[in-house]
């Protein structure tokens, strides 16, 4: 479930999450199961040849069980003294506007809602 994801989503403000959450260690801790259901995903209405899918949706946390970042603040590389050189980041450049987001930090927040180069995006990890 920790899928390194090198893409950003655009157009919607995704602010909260229903999350599958595993804490490391020899004993995997699970938050209680809230719901489990089979859903049928319709095909993309914008793509006539697309197929739908059947998925099992497992809910382990309520909405905003992990708080997304709604109002990110930014600093310069020189000010980023809490970052180390080999710290994994997600980096994006849109319309000449470059930003980087710490992956270890995103592991605890999952989603950042931001506007980069004038474009509203959601950075997800």
């Amino acid at each position: 479930m920790r899928i390194p994801w090198s893409y950003l989503f655009m157009g919607l403000t995704a602010v909260g999450i229903l999350l599958f959450f595993v804490l490391g260690g020899p004993q995997a801790l699970r938050v209680g199961l809230l719901n489990k259901e089979t859903i049928v995903v319709p095909p993309d209405p914008g793509n006539p040849s697309a197929q739908g899918r059947t998925l099992e949706l497992v809910t382990l946390l309520p909405p905003d069980g992990i708080q997304a970042i709604l109002n990110p603040q930014f600093i310069s590389p020189a000010e980023a003294t809490r970052y180390v050189a080999d710290e994994p980041v997600l980096g994006v450049t849109i319309n000449g506007d470059s930003r980087a987001y710490s992956i270890p930090f995103l592991s605890g927040r999952e989603v950042v809602n931001d506007t980069v180069g004038g474009i509203p995006i959601a950075v997800t990890w």
């Binding site: 390194p4 994801w5 999350l19 599958f20 993309d44 590389p77 980041v89 980096g91 999952e110 950075v123």
Partner: protein, 213 residues
């Protein structure tokens, strides 16, 4: 198969991160427009983009709460559905092609072959991999109707992409031509993801797998 599910405040629709698609609610089925970004290290990113802004994480350190998970044998929370044993479930791959023709490139096969020219989901692609930062970038290697064939060259410690036919040089982090007949021209970035094998093969059971020849 397991992957992150999000919801939006405006409609309450649930969105699958892996599929880039609404899965339940008012906007189910709708695709989100994806924008390519780069998964790399802080040091490498600042080198490539000295004018970048950096997310302020306050006083948080650099350790990842999932550090143990990245290296253990767990396949997400609810385990894998497909169990494709062509690779170990937590091996990392670069995934390309997705619904149009999925193909996975194991990072272990790319370590000493950092540039791969291939044809995936109907496109001529070049995959560039930087092992020390685990950065993977994929571009369309057709430019102005010509199919380019790339190799890596290292100039003063910097890795560059060189087209074998014309000797033209490109920056691998941006796909920008910097020397030769394609100066100032941009290779088109192709959607790719770095993923654990179990997740990729769960979503794309029919995936091709790159093997060294």
């Amino acid at each position: 198969m397991n992957a992150l599910v999000m919801y939006d405040h405006q409609s309450g629709t649930l969105w699958s991160q892996f599929l880039s698609q609404g899965v339940k609610g008012e906007l189910a089925g709708r695709r989100l427009e994806t924008i390519p970004l780069v998964q790399t290290t802080f040091g490498q990113w600042v080198l490539e983009h000295p004018d970048t802004a950096i997310l302020d994480k306050g006083r948080s350190g650099s350790s990842d709460r999932y550090g143990g998970y990245y290296t253990n044998n767990d396949a997400g929370v609810i385990g894998e559905s497909n169990g494709d044993d062509r690779l170990d479930r937590k091996d990392k791959v670069v995934g390309i092609g997705f619904d149009e023709g999925p193909k996975a490139f194991p990072l272990s096969a790319l370590g000493d072959r950092p540039v791969v020219n291939d044809h995936v989901a109907g496109e001529d692609v070049v995959l560039f991999f930087q092992p020390n930062t685990e950065t993977a970038l994929v571009f369309n290697r057709k430019l102005n109707g010509e199919r380019l064939e790339f190799e890596q060259v290292v100039d003063d410690g910097t890795a560059l992409l060189r087209d074998r036919k014309t000797g033209s040089l490109f920056l691998p982090f941006t796909g920008m031509g910097i020397e030769g007949e394609y100066v100032g021209q941009q290779l088109e970035r192709i959607h790719s993801v770095v993923s654990f094998w179990f997740a990729w093969s769960d979503f794309y059971p029919e995936t091709e797998l790159y093997t060294r020849t």
